[in-house]
Amino acid sequence: MIGTIADIGIDCLTATVSKTRMTVAERCAGLLTEKKAARLVKNTGFTHLSVAAPGICTSDFCVEAAERLFATTAKKEDIGGVIFISQTPDYPAPATSYIIQHRLGLSNDIMAFDISLGCSGFVYGVYVAASMLSNMQRKVLLLVGDNVKDFMPGDISGRAINGAAGAAAIIGHRKIKKEQNMLYNITSYGEKYGIIICPRGGARNPKITDEKGNFLAIQDNFGIMDGAEVMNFSAYETYGNVQSLFSHFGVNGNDLNYAFLHQANFAIVDALRERLGFTPEQAPFASDETGNTSSASIPVCMAEMKRRGKYTPPKKALLSGFGVGMSVASIVMDLSETIVLETGAL
């Protein structure tokens, strides 16, 4: 689905990661040879992973990020909506957005809801917030992130790439020229839902337990990801989504200051970047010290670049998230007025 949204911008954003960073070898201690750990780092580009302290949830990272926005550039009384996008909510019910509304001391005169999405979540959130603002005079607080804690014992596939993070962004009205309108393309591939899935623990299939009710250490009780299919999905469906967006609106990739691609891992970002014809400077990989932070990865990339003194506010940027669903969401927008705060730690 392709379209445009006028007169909306991201006022400010930032991301928060864990104070605790582990190397892949530390995170997967006892599960990897030294050589395999080195090969993993070479392929994924993740020298360190953000690992949340016990008891810290995704929402805690998001609240820390939002508090920094409110302490420096945003006003709580301007917020009319809170959206929390994650697959690691505080509770199965109620929605975490309500707990965050309360923790941040936001007004009761507000709407709040959660969306279940992973790596496409931030771009989806910008679209949903922008759509809500067409009939709302205030601003939307968008919170995204994930903190996957449970991995199959002995399995490294998730453990070696997942990083914990939360991000906060405030989306608001802005008078802009027509050529600065947001251009979006959102596409869904439900037929590929099995590529990344937690098959048990929802209403369809309970977790498998022993006779005493203890969860068994079998792969179906944990997340499953087909990494090879994710690579091909990125290289073909994500590529196709962005190409359609560009050709529909006559966007020339060379004119983009940045292409912020979901930081799945270095191999995927690099393959997609090359296919789309972007230079490494245009399509940065800045998650080397955090890991794949799911829906937070685009804000993490921007905040990490800011922290490293490498971020220049872009007049025209592509934001493209892709993953679980399977889902792709891409937006071309002006971020020259967006205030980016450097990464925080919790």
Partner: protein
């Protein structure tokens, strides 16, 4: 890509110290694992004329099978 260049590319991609030929069995190469499959698919995405499916890579038996996937028209 010539066969010689392909072998060099695969040694680099898998980061293996084994002696590799076009007839090498993939099963016998320790480093032909999920990491290498993803790296090979990445190579295909940017070099192959046709889309290489993951199952085609998993079905490959020798290094030559991979070469044929990468270079088919």
């Amino acid at each position: 890509m010539s066969e010689q260049d392909f072998i060099k590319k695969m040694i680099d991609l898998m980061d293996t110290e084994d002696v590799i030929t076009m007839e090498s069995s993939l099963d016998a190469i320790d480093e032909w694992d999920s990491l290498s499959i993803v790296a090979f698919l990445s190579l295909c995405a940017n070099m192959a004329k046709t889309k290489v499916q993951t199952q085609e890579v998993r079905n490959a038996i020798t290094v030559r099978d991979l070469y044929n996937l990468l270079t088919r028209s």
